[in-house]
């Protein structure tokens, strides 16, 4: 595992992205990515929980005994998730109503326990926090990207219901890209989420392949030398 700061960042955002590569947390990813705002709301909540749990797990890593590490990590994660669930209910009430059960379900997002066990419990606090942030950010970006795709194809808008998150100043942030669009139901329904995520992963793989494939000149040089 790459332990430098840059390595942690590129792992979280790209090479070991939770949504694209580890394929963890698919249940919330697929369920709430029907619009950008829903995706952003769940993404931010997950990001917060990841940073907070990575931080706490790293702080107590020399204190906790191996036999009880998993229950201890779960306790920490569940506490933070409950706290953010209450906080969103209080201050982002309407968004909380839309996201519903998927906020408390962040507890079961294996990506969070995974980062605690595989990374945060074995490294220093600064690295653990950076890892939590980058992994969370990577997950959030996938959510927002998929949400944007589904929202545009499904209802022809972007940033619909932005006021749920940003309050009344965001009432007219909605961008209608296609006027009089009757909507494309498949994109909004769960199958659309699977298809969308599949396409995004395919695109990522193509980019990765392009990046590692040697250029034509390099190939020619290599054959000449043989």
């Amino acid at each position: 595992m790459d332990n430098r700061y840059s390595g942690i960042s590129s792992d979280g955002l790209w090479h070991n992205n939770i949504g694209f590569v580890q394929l963890l947390g698919l249940c919330p990813l697929l369920a709430v990515s029907s619009t950008v705002i829903n995706a952003l709301g769940l993404g931010l909540a997950t990001l917060f929980v990841l940073v907070a749990s990575n931080l706490s797990v790293s702080v107590i890593r020399n204190l906790v005994r191996p036999e009880i590490r998993i229950p201890a990590f779960m306790l920490i994660i569940a506490s933070f998730v409950t706290a953010i669930d209450l906080a969103m209910n209080a201050w982002l009430h309407d968004l909380h109503k839309v996201l519903g059960i998927f906020i408390p379900l962040i507890v079961t997002n294996c990506a969070i326990l995974g980062r605690a066990e595989a990374f945060a419990s074995r490294t220093t606090v600064d690295r653990a926090v950076l890892d939590g942030f980058m992994m969370g950010l990577g997950f959030m970006l996938v959510l927002v990207l998929l949400g944007g795709m589904r929202e545009v194809i499904g209802q022809g808008t972007l940033l619909a219901n932005a006021h749920l998150m940003f309050g009344s100043i965001a009432e007219n942030w909605t961008i209608t890209l296609i006027n009089d669009y009757r909507g494309f139901l498949l994109a909004i329904l769960p199958p659309g989420a699977f298809l969308g995520l599949g396409l995004l992963i395919a695109v990522k793989n193509i980019i990765d392949e392009k990046a590692t494939k040697p250029t034509v000149v390099e190939t020619m040089l290599a054959t000449e030398q043989n």
Binding site: V64, P71, A83, A87, N89, W91, H93, Q155
Partner: protein
């Protein structure tokens, strides 16, 4: 040796549990009030959208009656009935009702009925209808729900209180008949409930029922 090891481990886990519970308790303490306020605000917004604030002078939110009536309100849960009055005279009620036969479970409704038994309007609360098809019952998505405004038990008559597909007056949606059918039925039942109860619903004594 083993016993002390086990005890220490257990104590440690207990300590984590206490700290975790403490964090949750603290958050709860600081969010309890804002949550109650947000819920109240959300409900008040719906109430005021249905019963214009000029038409009554009481605090509807606290002038509430609680009734459970499975037959008419669709659920065994206690349902709230908010009363609007002007100078003590009944103006309207907003009845919480459930359409139990939606496409995916319960659809929660607020049905506002004027004192003369005509509908002031209907709003849809929590529901799990198919996004893009059944959720056209939401005011944010289409104005279908406004087709109830001004209707009553006699306008249209019983046969009219159905979706068009079943020979009634109310539109269904392309690809979604079950959802509007369930809502129409639930609104009709709420009107029946109002007719049966009549002025009983305005009895002052039950103010904080």
């Amino acid at each position: 040796m083993l016993v002390t090891h086990m005890l220490r481990t257990a104590l440690l886990l207990g300590l984590f549990a206490i700290v975790g519970t403490g964090l949750v308790a603290l958050t709860f303490k600081y969010t309890e009030h804002p949550i109650a306020e947000s819920e109240r605000d959300a409900l008040l917004r719906s109430l005021h959208a249905l019963v214009p604030s000029g038409s009554h002078d009481n605090d509807m939110f606290n002038d509430v009656l609680t009734i459970s009536n499975r037959e008419h309100l669709g659920s065994d849960m206690p349902m709230r009935i908010f009363r609007a009055r002007k100078q003590g005279q009944p103006v309207a009620v907003v009845i919480e009702a459930v359409a139990p036969d939606g496409y995916s479970g319960n659809i929660f409704l607020l049905v506002a009925i004027k004192h003369d038994a005509t509908l002031l309007g209907v709003r849809v609360g929590k529901h799990k209808e198919t996004p893009g098809l059944g959720d056209d019952i939401e005011i944010e998505r289409s104005d279908w729900i406004n087709s109830f405004v001004g209707k009553s038990l006699s306008n249209p008559d019983v046969s009219g209180w159905q979706v068009k597909k079943d020979g009634g007056e109310f539109d269904q949606f392309t690809g979604a008949t079950i959802t509007p059918r369930a809502v129409v039925k639930a609104v009709y039942k709420a009107l029946m409930f109002y007719q049966a109860q009549g002025d009983m619903l305005f009895v002052e004594g039950k103010q904080h029922g």
